[in-house]
């Protein structure tokens, strides 16, 4: 396919983009949320919930295979007509803005709490938004490479989180399966939210140069994300116990406060130093996807005009992220954003796929 604005990516980069869109600040608070529901079986819930992104991946891949070179926006307008198709794109962009404003607020709150207690939240947020705009504006290939690079960094820093496991108590994980089907099922629904990020494939699909490798790449990405999630939940359960976990807003970070390594001393600051870049990845990946969809919606030249919707989206994220009065409100909003993932990640590709079968002729013409 034609390389638009350095916008083709390899399937390997796609793996890192998906992982980058999924694994972020949520790693730090997810163990608390899920163990409150599924108790010691939270890791089972998150393991089973990996089926959610697999379904999403399957649907997007089926859809993409039918219209491989058509971007998300064009596909939407072709299948649903101009008006309804545009509405669907706008909902997608709205979802990205809403979701990313929550992620960015979380991130800024953590930065303020741990690193910059006296710096106003708005300033921290502004710095992140600038970073997101700057990177996203570089195009898909740069984003792909950045995700590639940061993945290895996240892997290295994730190893730090394994150190405290030595202080854990295995009895906290037992008895396995005691939450029962009901508990695990409730945990499953919530855990499904945490795989949000796979839906970026709706936009990125047309940018991947080897389409036949996308499904495999997606599966690898989901496996990596699942491994991260299961590991962090098991470690947190081992170290804090279920009751102890509920006391910490970000238990993933507290993990690093309980070990002391000579010379390094305060591991959480070292971890956060690297994590600042890593944590903004979901916003970079998603904002690029939303901006691309926006330019496609308005049929603008992506190379020339990508920056404008990007700034618009970034400003919206900045304003929205500042609206919640406190972090507890953000946690509540996060649940709604989770429902949004089910809409965009599952319902959207399913609807698109159904419509592609209904409009078989159009699909064949464009294939």
């Amino acid at each position: 396919m034609k390389d638009r604005n350095g916008s083709t990516i390899t399937s390997k980069q796609m793996i890192f983009i998906i992982v980058g869109s999924q694994v972020g600040i949520r790693l730090m608070y997810m163990p608390r949320v899920l163990t409150a529901i599924a108790r010691q079986d939270a890791w089972i819930a998150v393991l089973i919930a990996s089926i959610v992104p697999i379904i999403s991946l399957f649907l997007i891949d089926r859809l993409g295979k039918r219209m491989p070179e058509m971007g998300f926006a064009r596909m939407s307008q072709e299948l649903f007509g101009k008006f309804l198709g545009s509405i669907l794109i706008i909902i997608f962009i709205g979802y990205v803005i809403g979701y990313m404003s929550i992620i960015m607020r979380f991130f800024s709150e953590v930065t303020k709490l741990y690193l910059l207690p006296k710096t106003p939240l708005a300033v921290i947020l502004l710095m992140y938004v600038f970073m997101v705009v700057y990177v996203a504006n570089k195009g898909a290939r740069v984003i792909g490479r950045l995700n590639d690079l940061l993945f290895y960094l996240i892997l290295a820093t994730f190893l730090l989180l394994i150190i405290p496991a030595g202080q854990g108590d295995y009895t906290y994980l037992l008895p396995i399966g005691e939450a029962g089907l009901g508990g695990i099922a409730r945990g499953f629904v919530t855990a499904g939210y945490y795989y949000a990020g796979i839906e970026v494939l709706l936009v990125y699909y047309s940018l991947v140069n080897k389409k036949d490798e996308i499904f495999k790449a997606g599966l690898i990405a989901i496996a990596i994300t699942t491994a991260f999630y299961v590991s962090i939940i098991v470690i947190c359960e081992l170290v804090f116990g279920i009751s102890g976990l509920q006391k910490h807003l970000f238990p993933g970070l507290i993990l690093l406060k309980i070990v002391q390594i000579p010379v390094f001393e305060r591991l959480e600051f070292i971890f956060l130093f690297f994590w600042l870049g890593i944590g903004a990845r979901p916003a970079i990946n998603m904002c690029f996807a939303a901006s691309l969809a926006f330019t496609q919606l308005l049929k603008l030249d992506e190379k020339k005009y990508l920056i404008y919707p990007l700034i618009l989206i970034a400003v919206s994220i900045f304003i929205l992220a500042l609206l919640p009065s406190d972090i507890l409100v953000v946690f509540n909003l996060r649940t709604f954003a989770g429902y949004g993932f089910y809409l965009i990640g599952i319902i959207y590709p399913l609807l698109f796929l159904i419509m592609s079968f209904i409009h078989e002729e159009k699909v064949k013409q464009n294939a």
């Binding site: 106003p120 710095m127 600038f130 700057y134 406060k257 001393e265 305060r266 920056i307």
Partner: protein, 378 residues
Amino acid sequence: MPKRILLALIMVMQTITLSGCWDYRDINTVAFPQLGAYDLHEEGETSMNSLSQDIQLIDLTVVIPNIAENVESKFKIDKTTGILIGNARGQKPYQLPGGYTPGVASAIIVSQDLAATGINKLNEALTRGALNPHTLNYAISETRAENILHVPVKDFPSMGVYMRMLLRSADKRAFIATTTLHQFEADQNPGKNPIMPLVTIINDKVMFSGTAILKKDKMIGRADLDETQYLLMLRGVKSTGSLPFVLNNDDNTSEYGSIVVVNKREVKVERNGDKFVFNINIMLEGEVIERSDNILFTEDKELIHDIENQITSDVTDRSKRFVKKMQEQYKVDCIDISKYALAKWRKELEPRIDEEFIENVIINVNVTTKINNIGEEN
């Protein structure tokens, strides 16, 4: 062009909003306490006297090293009073120049009368903010905690350094209880209870005097240094220490000496209806350090087994006595075995595990001793 404008805008904004604008602090003007002592407030004038009489005020005393050059004293001791620790910290600016950052403190000493009222409320100021590491070591003082800070230290730069070295990893040096802020919190999970080292002042020297037994965050009893050995073995705290032995032959002492052991523990729990039986297996491994007699091990092949059997017998006897004391006097699971019952029947037991559970279970103790090394001498 728009990209260049954007880049310029980003650079300008980043320059004017650098974190240093708000979070900059000159390290030379900040006081970094090394050690904190928490006490119930001693009667006296404070600005807090207008508060309700029901609330007992807290005294916070800290050791702060003097980092400025050419000063007479290496450290200063500063005491303030507040409704809780954060509030007492808030009084520091009235009597200390510069900032105050407790982020590098490495130990906290709580007086035992304050510990009896509960420690969680005191930890709030340490855990709610993100400044403090959860590796802070804890100790409970049999005297007023602030007295410990005033004990003269000659061989160490300050009492802060002395206490850090005394408390950190003490369980790797002898059968001494150690607790960090994280461990203290984790040990308040259902079925668990923390223990803390007890310290006291004897002859102008701060030293361990036993172990504080806590029911969740409240101190309810103490074990002396001797009992602490068996408490740690029963609790499964991997530790090391010297154990004496005395071999008797026809009612006469034939030999005595000591071995150094490391300990491990295994626990199995069985259930018959509402009757729970815990089988604790303590495994000791060690080496002979010294003996009073000169019979050679190569001459008396049974001697090493006699020493092992004597140690086994002594530890079994003392452990059983401690278990009895725990069930009858403390009435809390300070040996950390309830978790094995929770691991099997969590949903059913969790609501009642912390009330009248440990008193009504059967606890069997089995000890095995293995001497691996007799040293260089025969």
